[in-house]
């Protein structure tokens, strides 16, 4: 492996990591605020991709408008999802377990609905922008560059939202102490649904960023979701900095494994890394919860 290949692989790893961070952030926010571990998020990812594809290919809408419409609709879909499906479960004593099964059921429903509606053939989304930038021997496609930049912009916005706005601060309060938040009169149910809206929006965004590099097929969400699982387990549930570091490490590991011994080994190696780290640090590398 020469030095150019090495840096190209490193860069590809970082761009993948940027998307995994977005997915993992969605899971973390929902788990932190609503205390739900959302197995259906992979299906939201998939639906985001298919929705954008449908607007672009079938309705022949402008690319930018379709993306924006997808993102806005996914936000409201998340809110609706929380209100119709998750909220009624909260009154049961063992709802933490029930909610896992329900989100898995939703994943089954949504994935197979895609299969019924759009068929098993894979589709693709266009790149955000075609073309490459070259520095000597070193090339990077504009799409990859935009992936990193957009993911960073989203993360910064999210951070500002959580730290500066009233809703964001209320969400952090709920995640830290639910009883206290209820006592001071925060509208917890509304905050739960906001967290779902944000997570769904994040998964739609990561679909729009990632799908052009891979393909769109009915089970595409699961691979990304599982990698996001590994990322949050390693980074520690609820630790933003840990999540980012873990995502970058894992995506670099993934890219190098794919290059050296083949793509199918990425997941087994992830799992081995995950188990080994959990033996020594049962709450992840930087875990708090």
């Amino acid at each position: 492996m020469n030095i150019e290949t090495f840096f190209n692989l490193l860069l590809a790893g970082v761009t993948l990591g940027a998307v995994y961070v977005l997915m993992a952030m969605g899971l973390t926010i929902v788990y932190g605020v609503a205390k739900v571990f959302n197995y259906a998020q992979g299906s939201f990812f998939c639906w985001g991709g298919y929705f954008a594809w449908y607007l672009i290919e079938r309705f022949q809408w402008n690319y930018l408008i379709s993306i924006l419409v997808t993102i806005v609709i996914s936000f409201f879909f998340g809110i609706l999802f929380e209100n119709i499906i998750i909220l009624p479960l909260r009154r049961f004593p063992n709802w933490e377990f029930t909610v896992i099964i329900v989100t898995l059921g939703c994943a089954l429903l949504l994935d197979n609905l895609i299969l019924v509606l759009f068929g098993p053939l894979s589709k693709t989304l266009p790149f955000l922008m075609e073309g490459v930038i070259t520095f000597g021997n070193f090339t990077i496609s504009i799409h990859n560059m935009l992936m990193i930049l957009i993911a960073m912009a989203i993360l910064v916005t999210l951070d500002l939202f959580l730290k500066k706005t009233r809703t964001g601060m209320a969400m952090r309060a709920v995640s830290q102490d639910i009883t206290g938040a209820k006592i001071v009169g925060l509208p917890v149910n509304r905050l739960y649904s906001y967290s779902f809206g944000i997570a769904t929006m994040l998964s739609a965004m990561s679909a729009i960023l990632l799908i052009p590099r891979t393909l769109l097929y009915p089970l595409v969400g699961w691979t990304t979701l599982l990698k996001a699982f590994v990322v949050i387990v390693l980074g520690g549930l609820g630790n933003i900095k840990g999540t980012i570091i873990a995502a970058i490490i894992l995506s670099i590991v993934e890219i190098f494994t794919s290059y050296l011994i083949g793509g199918i080994w990425a997941m087994p190696i992830f799992i081995i890394i995950m188990i080994v780290i959990l033996i020594f640090k049962p709450k992840g590398l930087f875990g708090t919860w």
Partner: protein, 331 residues
Amino acid sequence: MVRKNRQIQILILLLSLAILPVFFYTDRYIMNILILCFIWSIVAASWDLILGYANVFSFGHIAFFVIGGYSSGLLVNFLKISPWIGILVGGIIASMIGLLIGLPCLKLKGIYLAIVTFSLLFVLPTLIVWAGPGRFKNFSTGGTYGLQKILPPSLFGYTFTRSNLIPWYYLTFVFFITFLLIIYKIIHSSTGLALVALRDAEPLAKTLGINDYKYKLLIFGISSFIAGIMGALYAHYFEAISPANLGLNVFLITLVMVLFGGLGVFPGAVLGSFVITFTNELLRPLLEWRLVVLGAIVIITMILMPKGLMGIPELFSNLKYYHSQKNRWGG
């Protein structure tokens, strides 16, 4: 007196199951469903040992089922050993792998454990496809299409083939009764009591000196063993096993069997399996819509009857919930 009545009821139920083929022996469709009921109810009951009794969120149970099936299939087809030994070894291998995974994972917190065990379902197909045709000289898992033409077991010169389902019915019935008794005995043994104590009052049970890790590991190994045996039996019954058995739908259907009957209530998982297996087969004419409908059934069941069959009396009050004003937006 009550206990004796209960025993008589159970005996009558089992006897009626034993003479069912007299009425249905011409109907392969019904026979097939009943055989599947026997297999899946034991898988579900053994999963219930982990989920309901040990209170461990292990989502990898189907992985042990498939490991058992593949181990037995590979040993029987390529080493030419007897299928009976193959089934036993399938169970042993499944429980070994179960212990190996349980050893580090059972120390984790609930949600972490769920993620790690769940990921088994996605790693295993990769390994199975990788060990497909042309990879090894002596054996092959058959790749994506799975292991085909697994040799059927034979007893006293009679070979159990798919052409006649009645012997298969009684074979699976014997396995069903045996493992039902074993699971019943485990639940009422000191191990089962220790687990129930840990589930219901963890701090107290730990103060009394019950080692939770030891008991959870033990039950993890036992239930993987049972799952492995049933997986091997399943593989020999269908004469095939494939990575599709690890799919999300199989996992969810089995989980719903456990939950539908009620978590941690012994015959619950068995009853749930019978109901869900029949429902699943009745939905076959829906073709590709079947899994969509099944997903909807999962969601609606969980919202309206979170306690499974035991929750039916509360069904109407749960329905009324949707009309009540108590939990509206912003509340």
